[in-house]
Symmetry: D2
Subunit: 333 residues, 4 copies
């Protein structure tokens, strides 16, 4: 069994906790949250030891993995500590909102040659993965375009939005990473972005955007389009389209079930899409843990690395700069 | 140009008239209907000569084709005359409601070695044809099942229903023919059928059925299922499924257009199906005429023959017998 | 926690064992199999006590549920014993191959007023359930037709087939039950069936069928069509179509994932279907256990009952009789 | 009958000629082409008078419509002449490659208060139109995004490409117009574009692009994405997606027919898309003529106007400027 200490027991932390608890290869030994009551309560469910100081987990030689699902500002410090203690690290996205802190961390931890897996869940989605495999097989020839649609069913609470870092760092960062996931021996080179608010004017007040679109270009000339929305009446819209010289691959949406309705007015009606990431990416979260077990025990390189997290953040920063300067921004990693 | 005399100017006759008029290889020379006013009126549209006696067309040596779209009871007599005069015949389905009359006709016209094309329009449908081609190519291996769904958007007027010959001879006869169209070096051997009325009780009064289903078996053991309904709220439901040892082919429905709607309640909603046969089989009717031109000038065997019409009628009779006797009926052609 | 004793550790038994083990409300206390080595081995995985005599489970007052997944001939005896000991019973389908034994059992256990849930897994499938809910809501008006397609990816081993009871009792029994699941205040009244072998002649030797089709009629005139195949090159084909006076509902297939491929030759290609029942009905098996927990603790009537199992078997017998007599058979329950 | 003089008998001119010839409300009186032999030959097919000097058509008082399908550089002069003679004008896109010439023409013809219909065929497509109607009905609430995919099956000959004006003026101009078609009481405000060549390096030599993508923003903040490709292995890819506060509308592709294939490797395979514009927009071209008849006789405003042609050209110029300057360009009409 691989022993895990889980930090952060918010919505995403609890979900990871349940998956770790149910997983055959992990033993969820410690759980930590700044809310001690919550920590005690949740630990019963997972049969874990609630700790009040992270140091307990770091110093326990039986702990293999530090699993970071706490709030974004805590990530870098926990990575610094965990790598010092030679622990394998799983860290939720984003690494941090400040690229400087990430760069300092990168230098600092280098000497430990650390194992760090980033929480870019979409890289593990069976559909998104399936088209990557088909791309690699050459089914669509040379890759020419990547088109990603990502729409959340509803915006998070305004208090979360205020500290989220904005749509590019909080939401589209997943899509920046996904673009890089599909580029083969290639890298993002430039970006242009726009943002606007039409239906929900609260976003204006916090200087953020409910709607955003980006066009990126790779070194090889691959054209990448990302379109995001903070709301979507019909569910969690998650699509990827890869266009190449010999064909096209689409990773489509998942519906509540496979039923269809035919009536006087409409035919072939399907149910709404799965509502949000916990449902839509249920398989991805499970497969992410399989990968974490494999990475901890055998693999040298994670499917999603610290460097992937750093680069996605750099692109997000460039997106924001482009929006302000109304021009293309060259990306330097 | 191929010269045509069109008999019968009802709904289906007028449709054929328009197609013949627009077709590059046909000259619609004569039109005939028992309603003389209608005949005169329609003839102006088609720039044809309205005749009051069929004999004019039969005796005109320039007439190549006698095109029969008049009421069912007139078909056999017109075929008898037309073949006597060595004309090519196109005849709408069904040949007649009485198999005895058809059998007598078959014997009588044999000596003329006549060219007769039956109006089984579905044999010419691009979708239904496409799966026949793929079947022949062996894409699904050996054919094992044929499943046909056919539902009219709404029943015809009760006065038509009374003289229609019933659901098997009037409607399902198309599907009996379609089953035979897909059977290769094989033939229908037995049939079982049921009929019922649930929503529209008028059918009880005229001893007919709004709903009917049949199971047929071929000599080679191919299982054929046909399901019919005289009403369908979402349009004209026309589907064929061929199942084989190596795969499945489906010829699906056609929608008004290719748009889809996504809302809070439903996703991927398509428009209603094309309403009825004139829209749904628009291409088929056009291709049927191309075939008629080719058959008239070159081909020895029509895609849809007098014998096909006769056999479909024999199956329809067996369907009715099965329904009454509540048992399987062996088919003898 | 609800304490369970699991009988039978074959493929389906092990699957149930894993689901019971992972379920929050069940404690898998005992496991039994006639293969003692297997039993000991599997019990380690589930942290259960391997018993060598069923009586241990029956006599343990803490055991709430006798879970029967052993071979078909053992079902009735285990039900007799379990009900005597006032246990709740879960029993895999079919109850038995011999309706007489089932009828005797029915009478014998009546006095215990037993709680028995039958293993008709499809009743719990989210898609199949979703269309039942929509049917009840009246979305398609009055039900007129039920069309069920069920095709296994590949036949079971010949040794299993020999003792399976044949395609109607072993395979189509699921579909007979599903027809009854959708009929509302209505019941199956008659059946006609055919069977044939085209690709796999081994079935002839054991007097069974790789292909079978049935037409059933309900008391209200609902026409029900079932088509089965013991092989299907593209996966586990599981579809239900409900047609009514105001519309149609379809519960469709599930693919490996939601990706699509477009190439020179074909567009919108999807991946093969989920391979077989353990994958296709994964959710159904889980929901079946939720239902079992609820039934054990609260509900008076199971979604799938002993009587449902008995009636499905009566229909299967009638199907076989129809096939032999080549006529419609009236069903008497 | 509405009398028409058709100028230009290339591929698109001949297609219009056939449609005009078959249309019930038009009489194709004159045909003109600089290739006199072609003109004479084609005129026989259409039963039209081949003229060697356009003046014949302009001076014929019975001519209602000057139909311009000749090469782009001839458009403006023909419009100038035709409007002077008070003819209704149909003009293929683009008006011209030089916006200055278009602006001069605009001023010059103003005094004639001319009736001019532009050849933006997509505005008449049943699918594209259907989603515009649904948008107007408010089915998706407030419009927020327009996403257009347009991919030609194969690039035109290099000699055509050299004088085409480039991908923005020759191909994407259709999509710029389509964006404006869906914007309601709104207008395009800014554009950013990229272009690249990956598979077909010939485009580098002529300083053109096989791949191009644009992001446009409207005055109201609607985000519009267009992606074009000069090649597409699976046919003519033509999709429009409208996203709004309450839903999404998609106008999808059209396949050769509605058949599907299921095999061991793939399921639900459809046939390739309709190959190119003459097939894909067959209905649109026909409906365009219906509209032209209606506009000629009754309507005051065409569905697609001279000004629409002028504005699309301005956007195309801005796209090219953006690509060179690597920044957002503000649009001024």
């Amino acid at each position: 069994m691989i022993n895990v200490a889980l930090f952060g027991l918010g919505r995403i932390g609890q979900m990871h906790g349940e998956n770790l608890h149910a997983h055959k290869r992990f033993k969820l030994k410690y759980t930590f949250d700044i809310n001690k009551n919550l920590s005690r309560q949740i630990s019963k469910k997972f049969n874990s030891i609630p700790i009040e100081n992270p140091i307990v987990a770091f110093q326990d030689k039986n702990i293999d993995i530090i699993f970071i699902a706490s709030s974004t500002p805590t990530h870098i410090n926990l990575i610094n500590e965990a790598t010092k203690y030679k622990k394998v690290v799983f860290c939720e996205k984003p690494l941090d909102l400040d690229i400087k802190k990430v760069n300092i961390c990168k230098k600092r931890i280098k000497k430990f040659n650390p194992k760090i897996q980033l929480g870019f869940n979409r890289r593990y989605d069976p559909g998104h993965n399936s088209i990557k495999k088909d791309l690699k097989k050459g089914i669509i020839g040379t890759l020419e375009k990547i088109i990603i649609t990502s729409r959340d069913p509803a915006p998070p609470p305004i208090n979360y939005l205020k500290v989220s870092g904005g749509i590019f760092k909080d939401m589209m960062i997943h899509d920046f990473d996904l673009v890089r996931f599909y580029l083969q021996n290639d890298e993002v080179e430039s970006i242009y972005s726009i943002g606007s608010n039409i239906s929900d004017k609260r976003f204006n007040k916090i200087k953020d955007y409910e709607l955003a679109s980006c066009v990126l270009e790779s070194k090889k000339g691959v054209q990448c389009i990302i379109t995001n929305s903070r709301h979507c009446s019909f569910g969690y819209d998650q699509r990827v389209e890869l266009f190449g010289s010999k064909g096209m691959l689409i990773s489509g949406n998942k519906n509540e079930n496979e039923s269809q309705t035919f009536t006087k007015k409409n035919t072939s009606q399907k149910k709404p899409l799965l509502n949000f990431f916990i449902d839509r990416y249920e398989d991805a979260y499970r497969l992410q843990l399989d990968e974490l077990a494999s990475y901890t025990l055998k693999r040298k390189h994670p499917v999603s690395s610290f460097e992937d997290g750093r680069r996605a953040l750099i692109i997000a920063n460039a997106a924001l700069e482009s929006l302000k300067k109304k021009r293309q921004i060259k990306i330097k990693f």
